[in-house]
Each structure stands twice: as structure tokens, then as C-alpha cells.
């Protein structure tokens, strides 16, 4: 039984956190082979070879794999599929773009966002914005699965897997990369941060979102946002937490001016400690908060930032 795991690589760099969490999710399924694909992927492949529990790394470097376009990446994975029973990846936007395409090429169902492995064919996954957990058993010969990283601890480092170079599949030539608009930030990455401070519509403006950022910086935290804050232009789209944004489970989640719609809760309710600051004491966010502070955020947040010595 072997597993092919698509490593998360952006611009040649391995996302160790997401990849190592997927490795730990996949461990019980069989020997894990990592696929490092990209225009440059050798360094990422070397880094992946150090993840505990990885038995082999395949490096595929080709211009067509450069920006992880779905068609050439899926074609490559499908061409390798005969050697594996499981094809898996961390549930990032890249993998959610690519793996369903792989599954359809192989005529099997996709199992999206798995949160637990029951056995080689059986997985748990949240449905209805996490309001129910479904256990599904696949009857397909191959299982194509994305793992929700927030639910798994990262595998450690210390492995010495063999690295092998392979060639890309033919590029179907259906799409081309034009540009990336990446928000540069020195803050920790949202999905792997130990602390997340998120702002919602209550923050009121892009300028005042600086209150959230200052508190985050004081705590060494990542910044998150509700959909309303993103839609209103207070925060960038890649900061959205929720059913259709990122799913986070930090040690501490601070929700400021966020009402607590189920779609938002879907992305943060597995956090260890939740703090909510909201002026409406009836706000649903208080139902999931360990510590709720009913207050005007424009007073409470600067005071909190100030007093956290």
C-alpha cells in the first residue's frame, strides 16, 4: 500500500507546515512518497525528504508546473497514479484546484477536507460548514483525499528519504499564468500561527483595521478577518477565515467585532482558546468564546494592546 502526497510548494519553496501535517495524516495509510512539482522544486524536494515518515521524494521540475496550474499538475499526478492506492495533499487552495481534477481523470470520487482517517477507505469530513461530521467509506480502487491541516499535528523532521528526479507529463497547454498578487507580510502565516487575531465588520474601516494589526503584532499573531471585513475592503481576501476561507485552529483566537455567523465559526471553532470582543452581548460569537468581553472595540483593543506588556 503506498501513498502519493502532493507537497505544498509556492515559488520553489516548500510549505513545511502544511506538507508535514498532511504527512502525519497520511502515515497510517502506507508508505508515503512525496511529489515535489514546480518550475523549481529540487530544494523543496530536499526539504520534504527530511520530514519524518516520508519514504521517497519524487522531484518534477518543468516550466509547465511553475504556478501549479491545474491541468499540467493533474496530468502529472494521473500519470504516476498506477503505483499508488492513495493520492493525497493538504487541503490548500492549490490542492483543492488540482486533486478533484486528478480524481475525475482516474474516475474516482474526491474526499475533500478529511479531518480524520478511520481506515484505508474510511474518512471523517465536516459538511454543512462543520455543523455535521460525516464518516464516508470509499468503494473506489484509488482514494484521492485532501486533509484539513488544522486537524493534524505536523510530522517531525529528521528523515532521510531518497530523492528521485522524474519528468513532467505533457502539458495540455490549456491555461497560462499571468500574474500573482501576493500580500507581503512579516506576520506569521494564518493557517500555522499559534495565535490569530481577526477583525470583522465592527472594525468599520480599512484604517481602523490597524487596531487589529497592532494587537496581532503585540501577540506575535497572524491576522485574520471575517468575510464582511474582506468584502468591505478592510482586509485582503487571503485573510478570510471560515467555511469558504481558511480553517484555523490556533492555541488562541481573538475575534474582534465579529458576530459569529456559522460560516465564520466553521473556520475557527476548533481553536484551543477563543476570545471574543463585541459590543453586542447577544452576539453568537459569545456562545463559542471561552472569554467574552462585551465592550466597544475602539476602547478595548487599544487598552488590551497597551496592557499586554
Amino acid at each position: 500500500m503506498s501513498v502519493l502526497l502532493l507537497a505544498e510548494i509556492t515559488a520553489g519553496e516548500l510549505s513545511l507546515d502544511a506538507t508535514a501535517k498532511a504527512v502525519s495524516a497520511a502515515q497510517s495509510l502506507g508508505d508515503v512518497t512525496i511529489l515535489a512539482a514546480g518550475e523549481t522544486a529540487a530544494a523543496a524536494g530536499d526539504a520534504a525528504a527530511k520530514i519524518d515518515g516520508v519514504s521517497k521524494v519524487l522531484v518534477a521540475e518543468d516550466a509547465s508546473l511553475g504556478h501549479r496550474l491545474a491541468e499540467p499538475t493533474a496530468a502529472l499526478i494521473a500519470s504516476l497514479a498506477s503505483d499508488y492506492e492513495h493520492i493525497v495533499a493538504p487541503a490548500t487552495t492549490d490542492a483543492k484546484n488540482i486533486l478533484p481534477r486528478v480524481a475525475a481523470l482516474l474516475d474516482v470520487m474526491i474526499i475533500s477536507d478529511a479531518t480524520a482517517v478511520v481506515d484505508g477507505a474510511t474518512f471523517e469530513r465536516p459538511i454543512y460548514a462543520g455543523n455535521a461530521i460525516q464518516t464516508v467509506k470509499s468503494s473506489d480502487a484509488k482514494k484521492v483525499v485532501t486533509f484539513r491541516t488544522a486537524n493534524f499535528d505536523a510530522a517531525g523532521e529528521g528523515g532521510t528519504a531518497a530523492v528521485e528526479t522524474i519528468s513532467a507529463a505533457d502539458n495540455p497547454g490549456l491555461s497560462e499564468w499571468v500574474e500573482d498578487k501576493v500580500a507581503e507580510s512579516d506576520r506569521p502565516e494564518l493557517t500555522s500561527a499559534g495565535i490569530v487575531v481577526s477583525g470583522g465588520r465592527g472594525v468599520g474601516s480599512e484604517e481602523d483595521f490597524a487596531l487589529i494589526e497592532k494587537l496581532a503584532d503585540k501577540l506575535g499573531a497572524a491576522v485574520g478577518a471575517s468575510r464582511a471585513a474582506v468584502d468591505s475592503g478592510y482586509a485582503a481576501n487571503d485573510l478570510q477565515v471560515g467555511q469558504t476561507g481558511k480553517v484555523v485552529a490556533p492555541d488562541l483566537y481573538v475575534a474582534v467585532g465579529i458576530s459569529g455567523a456559522i460560516q465564520h465559526l466553521a473556520g475557527m471553532k476548533d481553536s484551543k482558546v477563543i476570545v471574543a470582543i463585541n459590543k453586542d452581548e447577544e452576539a453568537p460569537i459569545f456562545q463559542v468564546a471561552d472569554y467574552g468581553l462585551v465592550a466597544d472595540l475602539f476602547q478595548a483593543v487599544p487598552e488590551l494592546t497597551d496592557k499586554l506588556g
Partner: protein, 252 residues
Amino acid sequence: MKVLVPVKRVIDYNVKVRVKADGSGVDLANVKMSMNPFDEIAVEEAIRLKEAGKADEVVAVSIGVKQSQETLRTALAMGADRAILINAADDVHTDIEPLAVAKLLAKVVEEEQPGLVITGKQAIDNDMNATGQMLSAILGWSQAAFASEIDIEGDSAKVTREVDGGLQTISVKMPAIVTADLRLNEPRYASLPNIMKAKKKPLDEKTPADYGVDVTPRLEVVKTEEPAERSAGIKVGSVDELIEKLKEAGAV
């Protein structure tokens, strides 16, 4: 150019979901159902393409129980021209898997020959986020998932996609499959006269057998459970008390 928009009937996003006591699934009997919110965005985008003279016909398709007719009527009231209902289930609790949906849609595409298919990014019931990508694989078409902007220029389309790192713009060859993210547009409400007019627009009914597609699920639902409840927390009276509690809990 014809635009095909698959629309799914799902539980309304405001409804509190209840898991059935026997663990067999979520209770959908007598629950408010609506068009999947992402599909409203997809329909809106297709209609805007028609209004901009870039599309000449918008066809909505739904696969599921016969009540999905209502969802199709909503699409027609928003401005779609025609609808196709594929009756694939009798029980409202039956969910047709993305793979089977994609296979049926591929057959519809063969028949209708659209130049563009816009699906929603994900259905808010099964949260699979797969159908568009699967359809694109089956057809061998280009794929632009999680779109927040679509710009059609002749035989290609420039699509901005919402990705983990921010935004990515790609250029895809037409015909293409695009999946709509939340910020692509704000869907319109259907006006009363348009709701009346929609009742007269054509709605064809088909079955999976008409297309020779087997919709037997590949994933057996073993059980459905409530998620673990969080234990109730406390309200703190001041910022000082909040800091004190967080320190006690070792959270800061």
C-alpha cells in the same frame, strides 16, 4: 456564445442544521431550501456576460429531486433563458456526488455546446468544492477555479482567482470551466415581473438514464454526527480581567 450554469438546491444558508437522531444524515424534511449561494453568483455572472453582449444564451441545469425545479425557476427569474432539470433522486436526502454530477454535466455540454460553464466554487451542503474541476477533467477543458474576476477576450479568458497567498491571474483557453468565488459579483434579486415571466420560460426534464450515466455513489455514508460541542465560556468584566484569565490559561 452560450453559457451553462449548474445550480444546486441546498439548505438555506441561514438555517440551523440538525443531525438526525439515528445518525443517518442531516434532517432536510420541511427545511427552507434555496439556491446554493455560489450558484447565484455564477448565474449573475452569466447574465452580466449576456447583458454585455459577450453571451447570447444562459442555460441553467440542476440535478437532484424534482423540487430543484424551484431553484431553476429562481435562475430563470434572475435572467437565465432556459433550464434543464435532471431528475436523479426521489428522496430529498439523496445527494448526487460531484463525480456523477460532472459526468451528467459533461453530457449536457456535449448536447448544448456552450462556450463557457460557470459553476459555484462549492456547494454549502456537502462542502466538496469539486464539481467544476471534475467536469473540466472529463471534458479536457481548461479550468479556472475560485474566480473573483472574469474577463473574456476572444478565444481566451483572463480569470483572477482567490488563492491562499492572495490573488492569481491566469489566462485560459475557451471553452473553459470557471468556478465562482464569493467576490465575483453581488447577485441581483429577481423582480416580481421577472418571477412571473420565469414561469413561462422553457424547463426540460431529463433523467440520468437519458444520458446513460450511472449515479450510484462511490462514497458510502457510514454515519453523520454532531460535531463536538465547546463547553460554555465566561464573560469577563474588563480588559484587566481578560488578561488575567488568559495568563492563568497560559494563552499569552
